[in-house]
């Protein structure tokens, strides 16, 4: 168990576990957290898992932990680790089973007050158009050839099928398509799972939410992003479904042998990895990119469905019911990027698991219109609480491999949440606060109760205080659709 005295305080928002803490650490661990947030995780294993992650071969800089950290199953959630390209390693478990789980935000010119009485219908329509739930299959049945196209093209696949516009793609991490994806590196089993699931939300903590822009903190950035106080916005949170889960499962199994071939010693088998330039590492990278593209396409199709729901309920009732893409970001991903380390630019593979890319102003790969303000960062809160829109900063580039937090972060186990929170009561409470809920399962709803999460505002205050993101807007939920 980790103790507070094992940590060196750097400043109010940063702590460090030095390499001297454990003999197998290759780099230090840097934690972005206030004392209070840090104390809240001392009883669980996230920091121990961060120390385990610090043993991966080829790490550069530090392993970073974001304030929304919580224990995962190998690598901590909220963890960031960069390995030298091409001789460092890539670890599927440090990216996660839900490859490119992420968030898409759409803005609107619909004023909340003008449509308050239609929200009930809007929730029902969103629930109808966006398939959700355990193992749910969608309306799209991809052929093998089409699935391969999705793997290679990502959200761009939606262009020819009428699901996407150029403006949508322009405002996506990697413009909605990761290069270097190879469907031949994906198992038949993953493809079998992936074919019927495109355009589905799934279950667990995934959701579609209608929000009101409640408060603006940076008016120039908000204007650039198309966010206006009192207007509706839509968030879509989901990933690569069974397709990504299977790819991670396949490669975690395969890499159990790779660590022996490359003589890699690890404190936890879920951290298995292979050198980036090895055949195993290259295959996983190509398969992971296929899953990432599947997830971009999935959120694209769901955005199309959300637009249909808005049109059905608000079309003709307000002047402009269109939903415009603000941005789409991943929070479980491995990316080859260039970062400055000890004054030198080097190529690294940045593993982000439950952490968001947060590139600062002027960084490569941003849509030209966002170049001045920095990359938008979308931080969904727990159900029924606020969500945040942030932007990356120059400091996030120099101090956190261009990364920041991804959400509120759990504090209560699902078992305890299920035991102490009644789904029906929670539903009533949320409805009484003006939030329309459509949930596939009441026990599932209870597990995702706001009490089971950290305070998202405290998480955001920390990354903003540490300088690795800047506040733009706070959103308040008015309708939530969950599987």
């Amino acid at each position: 168990m980790m103790r507070m005295q094992d940590m060196q305080k750097i400043n109010e928002y940063e702590w460090e576990i030095p390499v001297s803490f454990r003999s197998d650490m290759r780099v230090p661990v840097r934690i972005f957290a206030t004392r209070r947030l840090l104390e809240s995780v001392m009883q669980e294993k996230s920091l121990e898992q961060a120390v385990n992650a610090a043993t991966l071969p080829g790490l550069v800089g530090r392993v970073l932990v974001m304030p929304d950290m919580h224990q995962g199953y190998g690598f901590p959630i909220g963890g960031v680790a960069a390995t030298r390209y091409p001789d460092g390693v890539i670890s599927p478990g440090a990216i996660g089973y839900d490859i490119n789980c992420g968030v898409r935000l759409l803005s609107s010119k619909v004023e909340f007050e003008a449509v308050e009485d239609r929200l009930e219908h809007l929730a029902t329509a969103l629930d109808k158009y966006c398939p959700s739930g355990v193992g749910v299959k969608g309306d799209i049945r991809l052929t093998t050839k089409e699935l391969d196209q999705v793997c290679r093209q990502g959200a761009r696949w939606g262009l020819s099928r009428g699901y996407a516009s150029d403006a949508d793609l322009q405002r996506c991490e990697e413009f909605g398509t990761l290069d270097g994806a190879d469907p031949d590196k994906v198992s038949q089993r993953a493809k079998q799972r992936g074919r019927p699931q495109l355009g589905t939300l799934g279950a667990g903590n995934h959701f579609i939410e209608v929000d009101v822009v409640e408060k603006i903190f940076d008016s120039e950035a908000a204007r650039t992003l198309g966010l206006q106080e009192g207007f509706l916005a839509v968030q879509i949170h989901c990933g690569s479904r069974g397709f990504g889960h299977q790819i991670c499962t396949d490669y975690v199994r395969e890499f159990q042998g790779a660590i022996q071939r490359y003589n890699i010693k690890l404190p936890d088998r879920e951290l298995v990895c292979a050198p980036l330039d090895s055949p195993e590492g290259q295959s996983y990278l190509a398969a992971m990119r296929a899953a990432a593209n599947y997830a971009f396409a999935n959120r694209q199709v769901l955005a199309y469905y959300a637009r249909q729901a808005f049109e059905e309920v608000l079309g003709g009732r307000v002047n402009n019911w269109h939903l415009n893409q603000v941005y789409d970001i991943a929070h479980n991903m491995g990316k080859i990027e260039s970062h400055k380390i000890n004054g030198k630019n080097i190529k690294v593979c940045v593993h982000r698991k439950g952490a968001t890319r947060a590139f600062g102003p002027g960084s490569p790969g941003l849509p030209p219109e966002y170049s001045k303000i920095g990359q938008p960062v979308l931080v969904p809160g727990s159900m029924g609480t606020a969500s945040w829109v942030l932007v990356g900063t120059e400091q996030s580039m120099t101090r956190s491999f261009g990364s920041t937090c991804h959400g509120a972060g759990r504090v209560m186990s699902r078992r305890k949440a299920k035991k102490t929170i009644r789904g029906e009561r929670l539903l009533k409470e949320l409805e009484s606060r003006g939030i329309h809920i459509r949930a596939g399962s009441l026990p599932g709803l209870a597990e995702e109760a706001p009490q089971a999460y950290k305070d998202v505002d405290a998480v955001v205050e920390t990354v903003s205080g540490a300088g690795i993101a800047k506040k733009v807007a706070r959103l308040r939920p008015v309708a939530v659709i969950k599987g």
Partner: protein, 137 residues
Amino acid sequence: MGKPSEGYREIDHTADWALHVWAHDLESLFGQAALGMYALAETVLQTEPRITRRIKIETRDLESLIVGFLNELLFISEQDIYGFDTFDISVKKYKLSGEISGSQIISQKKEIKAVTYHALEIKHSKNGFEVQIVFDV
């Protein structure tokens, strides 16, 4: 009253789910792990008609075998919507083979993304076998 000779128990894990499973032999350990996994997902099976499937898995070690076995069941539950409650299997070194029977799934409340290797170790003691399994949900 002592602990029953085989069974499973849910244990606390902040974000995911974990099971503690124990049994007098490996075959029962695998069967109990499967029952525990279905219970976590709140899987409800139809009573009739019953189906039987042959199953054969071979891996490099025992931990990979239990992960492979449970992942196989997850795959079948998603693809064919079948769940199983009877396991007539044999585990010899790192090979599992035999017949599993069950029926169509009526409902399943929770989605399990995968079975993980996190801190996974099948322990052998004088009372039998035990293991702790963490699931990604």
